[in-house]
């Protein structure tokens, strides 16, 4: 990560030609520390940019609207993109690598499924208290854990995920234990159960757009800047008068609440939940992080881009290879994860930004 102080120096270097931006500066911009589009016009431009992005993200959905196989993949892509964007709030913006988001995902799924199967409460209604509950749990368990830094935080949150798994298996009066909860097929908008696949696709798209919209707003809010400050240098942020713990807790609560809503949608889409589906590390907690890393950690578009790459790819691998060699699809995914950590630290967004810069420079050199 770049040190703000040195990069400001870089910027003021009189020798550098004004059009050529230093690496440090472009990286800072990538992390959102510099806003080029300030002012009213800038805001409009940004709004157009995001609307354009949403339109592009919507496109595959329209194209595949009659193909149930692809619609399934697209629905999952949007869902996982939204969930990764929710993880990105605390993992990317605040730099706190939570591996325990399965807990919040599970809360959303279990609360909704239980209220629905026991009391016939519409998921639309129960997902709100579920999200609030997840946010509350998030604050309670991260309050002490935020004392830990880096890998220690990751390990502790990983332990939360395991505890949730054990609890979900054990207290079967709440969760139905290992046999899981089956949600009966009663289609209807109020039940969030649909006959047509595209209806789910639309639902997931709205979820992803909502979460990304929230991250856009957050990114430009005071809290968003505080989160970045905490990520860059916790001690400096504290010295600057930021209440680090409260900032992290607010980020975590928001992230957890949105993750819980994703859990609700997941439960109503699959209509079956059990502890392994919700709490398997490689399927849930780590995958949110993996998708974000591949797409571009700490960026707005990264999580969705990562999901658009990983989810179809994963489906392809499973369909093509898993029957011949069980597990080989996950092995390849793991290998990809290692490669991404080694060579693509800024993800697809970073790679695309670099490419765009290069083209821009080439174009300018020609002129």
């Amino acid at each position: 990560m770049n040190n703000i102080e040195t990069s400001t120096l870089d910027k003021e270097m009189p020798l550098a030609p004004p059009q050529v931006r230093s690496n440090a500066e472009s990286e800072l911009e990538h992390y959102g520390a510099i806003h080029r589009d300030c002012g009213i016009d800038g805001r409009k431009q940004t709004l157009l940019k995001y609307l354009g992005g949403i339109a592009i993200a919507f496109l595959p959905f329209i194209l595949m609207v009659n193909d149930p196989y692809w619609l399934n993949i697209i629905a999952f892509t949007y869902l996982m993109g939204g969930l990764a964007a929710a993880w990105n709030i605390i993992g990317g913006f605040a730099g706190q690598f939570s591996l325990g988001h399965g807990v919040f995902f599970g809360i959303g799924a279990y609360v909704t499924a239980r209220f629905y199967t026991l009391f016939d409460v519409s998921p639309w209604l129960s997902m709100i208290p579920a999200a609030l509950f997840a946010a509350l749990i998030a604050v309670l368990i991260s309050w002490p854990t935020f004392r830990l830094r880096g890998p220690f935080f990751a390990i502790a949150t990983m332990a939360f995920n395991e505890v949730a798994f054990v609890i979900a298996n054990h207290f079967d009066s709440l969760t139905n234990g290992p046999s899981g909860i089956l949600i009966p097929f009663k289609p209807g908008f109020a039940n969030m159960i649909f006959v047509e696949r595209w209806q789910y696709g639309l639902l997931m798209f709205v979820f992803a757009a909502l979460v990304i919209g929230i991250t856009v707003l957050l990114r430009r809010s005071r809290l968003g800047y505080y989160l970045l400050a905490v990520r860059e240098d916790e001690d400096a942020a504290r010295a600057a008068g930021i209440n680090v713990l409260s900032v992290k807790l607010r980020g975590m609560a928001l992230s957890a609440g949105l993750t819980s809503i994703g859990g609700t949608l997941f439960a109503m889409y699959l209509r079956y939940i059990d502890p392994p589906t919700l709490f398997t590390m490689t399927d849930v907690g780590v995958k949110f992080a993996l998708i974000t890393l591949i797409g571009g950690i700490g960026t707005i578009a990264g999580p969705l881009l990562g999901a658009a790459l990983i989810i179809p790819f994963e489906n392809f691998l499973r369909a093509e290879l898993a029957s011949a060699l069980p597990g080989i699809n996950l092995a390849i995914l793991g290998f990809l994860m290692v490669l991404a950590a080694l060579f693509m630290k800024r993800g697809l967004v970073g790679a695309l930004t670099d490419l765009w810069r290069k083209l821009e420079l080439m174009w300018m050199a020609r002129k």
């Binding site: 880096g150 220690f152 505890v163 069980p326 950590a341 080694l342």
Partner: protein, 296 residues
């Protein structure tokens, strides 16, 4: 009431197992300051190695250690050289990378073994030593003794030999160690190799106790992290005592509360320690906060 002694002995022997799988991790975690999420998979490699050596070469499962432990150590050195070293000072990326390795190793083994659980079953694993009312599993006793010997050996190695001293020097102050002529990168390489080799050795010793599956490493990794955090980073005896504590707690919780909740209970203990004394019982205070930052 008369069961207490049995439960205690069972817990101590279980603690030996946890201590054993944690020793290598502690070396890697404490010295190289790397969170190796794939450590459980190295134990799994050790188990499969021992199993294959037994089935295809007819080697005694324990004798296989001479072959398997160095091999796993080499794998560890390759990991350090190819994956960890380039990610020096980037703890978040290390989490990703070693988790990727975990997924890779687990599923490659799944593809090779086709997911069937295997075991070196038979009489050896079931042998019991009866002491009055107590029944002690022989293989577990062997494991416990081996853990004790390895701990003592590692302690002597770190305190008496030049190589061990340079490892400790690097742990304490990388820069000064370099000034003193220690090749820090090479020390990391060998330490990681040693830690991985110990994981392989642990796997070999555990082969008669557990049935072997590609995901068996998952049983150990969180336990091992708990033990290391409980005992203290980089402390050899910390891993040993931490292992015993976790083992005894698990045995008592499993017997007196509910077997299915036992791991949740020691997770809670682990979290309490992490919160109250993050440096562990034998660790250096503050290591958990500054240990992963760049040392100047």
């Amino acid at each position: 009431m008369d069961q207490i002694l049995n439960v205690l002995v069972f817990g101590i022997l279980l603690g030996g197992i946890y201590g054993l799988v944690s020793i290598g991790l502690n070396l890697i975690f404490g010295v190289v300051r790397i969170v190796n999420f794939a450590q459980g998979e190295l134990v799994m490699f050790g188990m499969y190695g021992s199993y294959y050596a037994y089935t295809y070469l007819g080697l005694n499962p324990y004798l296989a250690a001479l072959l398997v432990a160095p091999l796993v150590g080499l794998i560890g050195m390759a990991i350090q050289r190819l994956v960890i070293q380039p990610l020096h000072n980037e703890p978040n990326m290390q989490i990703f990378a070693t988790f990727g390795l975990l997924m890779m190793f687990q599923n490659i083994m799944l593809a090779i073994s086709r997911g069937e659980a295997v075991s070196i079953g038979g009489d050896a694993g079931a042998a019991v030593l009866a002491l009055g009312d107590m029944k002690i599993s022989v293989v577990r006793l062997v494991t416990f003794i081996a853990t004790t010997l390895i701990t003592v050996g590692l302690h002597l190695f770190l305190s008496r030999t030049m190589a061990g001293k340079s490892i400790r020097a690097v742990t304490q102050d990388k820069r000064s160690a370099r000034v003193m002529g220690i090749n820090v990168e090479r020390t990391f390489l060998y330490t990681f190799g040693l830690g991985a080799g110990l994981a392989g050795l642990a796997g070999v010793l555990l082969t008669p106790i557990y049935s072997i599956t590609p995901t068996v490493g998952g049983n150990f990794i969180l336990a091992a992290f708990a033990v290391v955090v409980l005992g203290g980073l980089g402390s050899v005896w910390g891993a040993y005592i931490g292992g015993l504590i976790v083992g005894i707690v698990e045995a008592f919780a499993g017997y007196y509360i509910d077997p299915s909740l036992k791991s949740a209970i020691w997770f809670v203990i682990f979290l309490i320690v992490l919160i109250l004394r993050p440096s562990g019982l034998f660790g250096q205070v503050g290591a958990e906060e500054v240990g992963f930052r760049e040392q100047h």
